[in-house]
Assembly symmetry: C2
Homo-oligomer: 662 residues x 2
């Protein structure tokens, strides 16, 4: 009855009316007046038909409804994007409505009522945000977007196949349907070598989750104003780019070219093979004139915002709305570029990140003459599929780096930690005899897509995805604690490529931008030598692939909270190797951990998710020690090291085999 | 058992395996060895499950199977196009296989076996051609393509809606689902004013039917070499263009610009809102390099073929494969440009019509780097949706007109018919008080799409289409037979616009290209004055919209043959008027009909379909008297007339109301 977990059933089969079976045998006992016009005329027919079959009926309280008129304006058929300001306003209103329902029962009533009246993507987004932020639904988690909307993650061709299996084969005999992989372009398209990264469902879900945890706006300030929000924005994309560039180097591609000139042809086409429009090779951006979306925007606007932001970086301060000078820091800069409510002056600095997405996403129909919606890059749940996403974000990162370049390099005192010294590090991967060799390969994982198979027969139906995987490995790190007492150290582990596109050793300032953070954890260090063994699967920054598809209602049975459901997908921890081996350097650094114990304490105002671990243990800049340019004399990584750092050469080999997972 | 009409059930729900219910309660008793791999492992489960529910079981003879390996090469998921030579070769092989099955029972066995192994579009095409051409299935007709593949005719968004209605609402209570119209572009796109023509399902089905009746190749010569095949090719497109241009004038658009220069940007973009790829505004054609389709072709190839054809026109002869001169006539020219087996030299004159379609259809991915299939213009069932179709065909028509321009103008003796004179003509439309005013409006028609709703619950599900319609009208024609005996006259009725884009009266040579043939029939004329009353609905050149959706199996009950199921869609007989009235001229001409009676006799070698009427009564050139330029001194239509012709000013008014049809 009052079970809050019933809310999660409202994510099932989003296009099926709310009175149909949700989950296994559950039917919401929908008040007749909640029905939409089509079904009100045959209310007895439909309500009886579905409730008779129910194993359990969920009581839905008939309350007086809040005003849903604004969010109802988005057509049920429309595509929904957080990048579109008009959509964002509707989302804010709906989030507020869901947040302000006094009880879970009332929230359930509003959601049941809204289910068939609101755009299903908007509904999913706002209800997810509310569940993740309300106190009375804390720790519940929400189902993964791929389960409600598999159409945003897989080739549209597959649905007929899934439907066939559901219709013909009884549940027990159903076979997993292999989702095509490597299907959006051919070998002739160099950019396509990165398909396994750009089109990975885990990678895209990770990106989407940021926006569930960090809404742009809300009446409740704590939903938006979270600790180091802007810096986390910067660092998430910086790390994504670092990873993408390392993957590129491993695939014999140059690092991604920032989209510096918005007036040039974008040479990289992308055909998503989904409902979204493609972009042809060599398409130009155009001024956007989309009256329906209330979006009238010139390329010049983007250029002006960029100029103003760069000017603020040079001057070291930004102007708020009352023209007051605010010192610029990375957090402020992130807020400006992300342009949430937390931006100090959206009027002056605009909405650069989102609008860049939209200009690219509307390149095929900037005037809306052809009534087209945005391409994949316009939807934050699918944006990472498109090569142009990385070109845009490389440009944004260049702005962040301009700020970072103005900061004084870390001096040795800011890097070393007296009393700790690292003497060796080694990684050993399962089933690999030599040390410091990592191995990547392909893996197939099955996901139940039945919750997204609207209007198909019930019962589990599994899709089989192919994705990158690596052999689990262990770090063995030797640390000397030169003091005489037990102390705590904070360990950071990074991985970066050793050579550039021309096989030349990289300078520190190049390499630092390609350093991928693999793990971050606290250890107790006894006096003298300590041998730390840390398994790759323990990484505090990743979540296992299965977690992505864990049903929150199942997690609940095991009394587990879903709060950590949003790290980087663990199967993508290590970049894909090459047959000959991608030459990398692994950097380990130990710094002080001042607290006396390592119990997890929530950071006030931090999100309840992966970033927690990034922020938990110290207040240093994200990406430290690689977030700034090197001090004089430290042109190479070797010169940069202090005794509390150590580096090892690591080779990543890729074996072209496919294993079946779980 | 041996009922040939069971063959038609194989067109139902083409993606559902052949052992599922087809039609109402009918199940094919499929031999186990016919099952595909997926189902062979659970054969008892699936076969029993479906056959138990059957109201009637169709016996399928287990015969030794012909070789289907070539047509099986086309993936079940691929798009199929008659324009692609590799696909055509597969289609020819499959047509031959279906044509050569000795009995209907054996044809049924091969078709049942092939159903789940062959590409569904290819299967539909080849089986349709076989049924339309085999002696033992004569007169049966085949179901309309829109019923098997509604996805080729309507917005893809609608299918979720149809599926919802099928799943939730019991058959008796289902409502027709309104198919969006006017949805592919906005008012800001001038080309979109023609949506009701380009996207009309009847217009597209009419075009498709040509290719069912005139396959490009077949082992049985009579299937390909039909009377005046090439001329009918020319005339079908000439009339389509005439109609399209008149519609354009009525919508304040200029006549379509021929795609003379294949290297220019095609300014007209088109977003079909179907599975096919769009074409952006201002897309250039490129050389085609699609190895998978065995299609390596340069724009230069097209240009060369054009040049050679134009040279042949100038010289008045073509070279066959042994370099022999063959005098050029319109029929030969049509065969060359269509490039069927009937072309005298495909090597030299190439495959102009089809390849032009493909160059446009592949403009978004000419190298196949993005693994994209063709746009709508690459599929002859959807090609007429795209504005570029008309630009390409206007170019082809300019070649035909170059030939026509070399023919001597008709002299008066070739036009007039001594003894007949026309004294008046008038049209009166239903519910229109004034004479010579025609009226167009919108109409909605319902079509049962249940046969195309693969994997959805059974039962009729109607879609409601909006299309142009006109008030029925009657021609009243007064003819004087100056002889003293009863004679037969052949009446031709044409309609054309009176003014050009600048509101100037057109010259004969402009106007003749815009003359739409409305009707053609034989009348008995008594001596002295005769008053002929002919209803518009009697037009021998059109078929009523309902006919398009008539189930051949139902027609069979009323003992009617489906042979005339392929005229121009009657609802499109009259171009859309304008609010103020589109000024037209109606031309009636009576010539001699030499035979003594007007009984219908099949023309040997003619198709069994609408074109029958074009060819039946005389051997004059199609389009006569407007197919040639005017004689000296006949610069205007008025000067061109002979006493056996008459012209009337007719105005077409459009009223913006929507009526519900049948």
């Amino acid at each position: 009855m009052g079970d809050k977990y019933n809310l999660l059933l409202l994510f099932d089969r989003p296009h099926e009316p709310v009175f149909m079976e949700k989950g296994r045998g559950v039917v919401f006992d929908v008040p007749k007046k909640f029905l939409t016009d089509r079904y009100r005329v045959i209310d007895n027919e439909v309500l009886d038909r579905f409730s008779e079959r129910a194993e359990s009926l969920v009581n839905v309280r008939d309350i007086s409804m809040p005003d849903l008129s604004l969010p109802s304006k988005l057509s049920r058929k429309a595509h929904f994007s957080l990048c579109v300001p008009a959509h964002r306003i509707m989302a804010v209103r709906l989030i507020d409505t869901f947040m302000s329902a006094p009880t879970v029962a009332e929230l359930q009533s509003v959601a049941v009522y809204g289910h068939d009246r609101l755009n299903p993507y908007l509904f999913n987004y706002a209800l997810s945000v509310a569940i993740l932020h309300r106190k009375d639904t804390k720790g519940m988690g929400v189902p993964s977007l791929i389960q409600s909307f598999p159409n945003k993650f897989v080739d549209r061709q597959i649905f007929r196949h899934l439907r066939e299996e559901c219709t013909i084969v009884p549940e027990g005999s159903r076979m997993a349907i292999l989702i095509p992989h490597d299907y959006t372009a051919s070998e002739d398209e160099p950019e396509h070598r990165l398909w396994y990264f750009r089109e990975d469902f885990g990678v895209n879900l990770y990106h989407w989750h940021r926006y569930l945890m960090y809404p742009f706006e809300a009446s409740e300030r704590s939903v938006v104003y979270k600790a180091r929000r802007g810096e986390l924005f910067y660092y998430m994309y910086q790390q994504i780019l670092a990873r993408y560039n390392v993957e590129r180097l491993g695939n014999n591609l140059k690092r991604v070219e920032p989209l510096m000139d918005l007036r040039e042809y974008i040479k990289e086409g992308y055909f998503p093979k989904m409902e979204s429009a493609p972009r042809f090779d060599n398409t130009k951006l155009s001024d956007v004139r989309r009256h329906q979306d209330q979006l009238i925007m010139d390329i010049e606007d983007l250029e002006q915002w960029s100029e103003r932001i760069k000017e603020a970086i040079t001057k070291g301060f930004v102007l708020d709305e009352s023209e007051k000078h605010i010192p610029l820091n990375i957090d402020e800069l992130g807020n400006i570029i992300e342009s949430s409510m937390a931006s100090p002056n959206r009027n002056l600095y605009g909405d650069l990140h989102n609008m860049g997405h939209l200009f690219i996403a509307y390149a095929h129909d900037p005037s809306h003459r052809h009534l087209e919606s945005f391409g994949v890059v316009g939807d934050l749940a699918t944006a990472m599929r498109d090569p142009a996403f990385y070109r845009w974000h490389a440009y944004l990162d260049s702005i962040f780096q301009q700020h970072k370049a103005q900061l004084l390099p870390y001096i040795v005192a800011e890097l070393r930690y007296e009393g700790f010294s690292l003497t060796s590090v080694e990684v050993t991967a399962e089933d690999v005899r030599e040390p410091n060799i990592l191995q990547t390969f392909w893996q197939e994982s099955d996901i139940d897509l039945s919750r997204g198979m609207d209007f198909a027969p019930r019962g589990n139906i599994f899709a089989r995805f192919k994705h990158l995987q690596h052999a689990p490995f262990t770090y063995t790190i030797k640390v000397t604690n030169e003091s005489t007492t037990k102390r705590f150290g904070l360990v950071r582990i990074f991985l970066g490529p050793k050579f550039d596109e021309q096989d030349q050793t990289m300078t520190f300032n190049e390499q630092r931008l390609l350093m991928i953070e693999l793990d971050k954890f606290v250890v107790a260090l006894q006096p003298d030598e300590n041998v730390i063994r840390r398994r790759s699967t323990e990484s505090s920054l990743t979540i296992p692939v299965e977690r992505t598809f864990r049903d929150p209602a199942v997690a609940r049975v095991s009394n587990e909270t879903m709060q950590h459901a949003c790290g980087w997908p663990h199967h993508m921890l290590i970049p894909k190797g090459s047959t000959n081996g991608l030459q990398c350097e692994l950097v380990v650094m130990v710094t002080n951990y001042e607290q006396e114990s390592v119990e997890e304490e929530p950071i006030s105002g931090a999100d309840s998710c992966g970033n927690h671990h990034l922020l938990q243990y110290d207040q240093r800049a994200l990406g430290y020690p690689f977030d700034r340019q090197s001090r004089l004399g430290a042109e190479r990584l070797a010169d940069f090291l202090t005794p509390n750092m150590i580096v090892a050469d690591v080779v990543i080999r890729h074996v072209d085999r496919t294993e079946h997972c779980c």
